[in-house]
Subunit: 447 residues, 2 copies
């Protein structure tokens, strides 16, 4: 039995990760707007000792002119995760927030506040936000270029981490006798003057229990991987084959090393969509049933946007037309390549591609028995492709309940996954250290 | 017995509204960072059937160079109030957020999310934020002028309310058969192109249960009162005498009428600091004990900033020096006038003024028995100076517990305050209507 342990994250994707989940009789679409539903999901994941739950996010509404809209409806991350913080005790709470459309001061204090409320369980999934529609909600006519977005993100991270460091850990003294609440010299201004941001500091809330929230990232473009190698402590990724998964894993760890970081300092979590049945046939039937619920018109529109080519009038039973070069994509570059390669490798028609993407949106779909899914997880975990998994149940809560009840016990039997929590903070769950305070060290050196 | 009922809001000011509260043996300074403390306060207020709790806010940290810092330590409003939303069932949750340093799209969806999570209990205390230190955390070298801040706030409110209206109330249909989640034509773009904001819309979350969160305002300058008359549904205010309170009340209702609004459409809530004892002497002793805990050095610095004049070397036992004209104040203009008038009217020395401001920060301090406080409340309520009160206990939870246990029963005996909740939403508690959807009406007119 290995001492290396799997990490498991639950993707809180409304009533399920499958794009047609809300049409399936095992879900209730009203759950999309129900805080009780999300409380139930988080508590189920916590009872199974998952490391964390995770909320994706975007900052644009549905296009009113689209003829067929499936609202994937989400609560806003800080508000939802704060509600979940006091509804749970141990599980980590990871929220997606964009560096493109927020101010570092606001974001740093919201995450600090969430980390204080949860007793050290906050994580930030850092995104730069693609798409012109999002930009047009924030005083811009179009989004910034991919490279500029990552430059801004890099400066943003410097400012945010410095803001978390702007209070030394022992700043609060509350000396009633003298009336001194704060230890003199324990707070620091940043006086940051950069290309994108000018921020004075200090923050107006003490350093978070974890030092920083756990820093998570999911971009897999070249810019994205470089950014991850510098900043990320956990990485969500979409990998279709074991070979691709191993290559990505090795590449990311090597990039981290080139920044002076150890292999253990970055946790790689591929996504997997578990479509579970008590037999393989039952699982495959559920998978097919879900794909039959996809509305082709909407799926084609989504795919057109992803691939940068209008597929609206393309025959469903033909292969894809020629695609633009990746350099022309100013959105999710790595997802573009993944879908392009998948379609080419398996010579898929447009209809087949839609089916493959409806459940996984680019992630592995494993339709099978709990044993088969456990085999898949163990293979990737032991063959250098994963430190754990981002679990994306296609139907919620249904398929999470199946996973917790049937897959988790097998992983435990095999010595791969914890039977109970050993730590209290999200960093402790992932085996990651609490960061030292850079500004405190600087101040000490100047004395 | 009148059918007109008092409204009560609890000001969630850390361990107490008195600036030296944390030094008093009846508080625990660790409560400042404890979510359990705030949960306890909200539940106590809810058990007493208060209309709402309220969190003040600012976006600047303590000045590291100050020799004596009393951290008033606050959680960030959206995160704290979301945690309280699932810790309570009926009480309203009002958070202060600045129009100066946030994007309307982010704010509108965070309030919408809080309103959904709480089942219609969110309120927004709208501030424009004074002070250059805050501005320097947000890419500015100095704050905008008072008038510009209010112009921006006015446009901000137009955008935010339109974003809440960008989903019609019956937009969600979830037709599983057709795959249509949203009713066609039920979502609207704003395509707002203004002086301060360009926002496309729609929002990415359905219309809040209350339509909009309750709109609250606390600025009492001319700009502030005009803004309140246009937008605010509840107003927090600091008034020292019954005559001033009546004049403010009448003025605000008249301004609201000039915008075509009824007197009932705006609820006026002066602040009151209840310093309670079982005898008047006991209450006065507590009041004196608290004032003795004020650190004069820090209080003088705070007052210098408020009055726009450096009082650091001014003798504590002399009256104030000449003050600048109110036109020179780019911060809280009405608070400047209140403090200036208080000092002149009562011929206070600097030391006396500090004592008067330490507990109330400009608000009425009533040190007495529960009967005496109830008399004060009834007088203001029946004499045209208040629709209710913003209750600011100097020590928390201690003085809230006293208020709930001893003052609330007297108010009920007198028929002034509800025995239990009759509504479910914050708007219902305050007797305010759910706003109609402006964009839906516009769209209907164009058909």
């Amino acid at each position: 039995m290995s001492h290396r342990q799997l990490h498991l994250n639950l993707f809180l994707m409304g009533v399920g990760h499958h794009e047609a989940a809300w049409r399936h009789p095992r879900t209730d679409p009203a759950d999309l707007g129900s805080i009780r539903h999300f409380q139930r999901l988080a508590r189920t994941a916590e009872a199974a000792a998952f490391d964390s739950v995770f909320l994706a996010d975007g900052v644009e509404g549905p296009d009113p002119s689209a003829r067929s809209n499936a609202w994937v409806g989400h609560f806003e991350p800080f508000t939802l995760l704060s509600a979940l913080a006091v509804s749970t005790e141990r599980i980590g709470l990871i929220g997606t927030v964009s560096t493109g459309f927020t101010e570092p001061y606001n974001l740093a204090r919201q995450f600090a506040s969430l980390d204080h409320i949860s007793g050290g369980r906050a994580g930030w999934n850092i995104v730069t936000s693609a798409g012109d529609r999002a930009a047009r909600n924030f005083n811009r006519t179009a989004n910034q270029d991919h490279a500029v977005r990552y430059q801004r993100a890099d400066e943003y991270l410097r400012v945010a981490t410095d803001l978390w460091d702007s209070w030394e850990d022992d700043a609060l003294v509350f000396d009633r006798q003298s009336g001194q609440a704060l230890r003199p010299g324990s707070l620091h201004e940043l006086a940051h003057e950069g290309e994108h941001f000018q921020v004075l500091g200090p923050l107006n809330i003490p350093r978070p229990p974890q030092g920083y929230p756990l820093l998570v990232q999911a971009g897999s473009s070249e810019d994205g991987k470089d950014f991850a190698a510098r900043w990320a402590e956990a990485v969500f990724t979409a990998q279709q084959t074991l070979a691709e998964g191993r290559a990505f894993y090795a590449d990311l760890k090597a990039r981290a090393r080139s920044h002076g970081r150890s292999d253990d300092s970055i946790v790689v979590l591929p996504g997997v969509v578990p479509v579970l049945g008590s037999t393989e046939a039952e699982a495959k039937a559920l998978d097919a049933e879900l794909d039959d619920l996809i509305t082709p018109e909407r799926a084609v529109r989504t795919l057109s946007s992803l691939l940068g080519v209008d597929l609206t009038d393309h025959p469903l039973d033909q292969p894809l037309p020629p695609l633009p070069p990746v350099s022309a994509i100013n959105g999710a570059k790595s997802r573009f390549e993944l879908v392009r390669d998948l379609a080419e490798r398996e010579r898929l028609t447009l209809r087949q591609l839609i089916g493959r993407l409806g459940g996984g949106r680019g992630h592995q779909v494993v339709a099978g028995t709990p044993e088969q899914l456990a085999d898949h997880i163990e293979l990737w975990f032991t063959q250098g492709a994963a430190d754990g998994f981002n679990i994306m149940p296609p139907l919620l809560p249904d398929q999470l309940d199946h996973f917790a009840e049937h897959v988790v016990p097998i992983l435990r039997e095999r010595g791969l996954f914890r039977r109970e929590y050993t730590g209290r903070t999200l960093r402790e769950h992932y085996g990651l250290p609490r960061p030292a305070n850079r500004l405190a060290a600087l101040a000490a050196n100047h004395q």
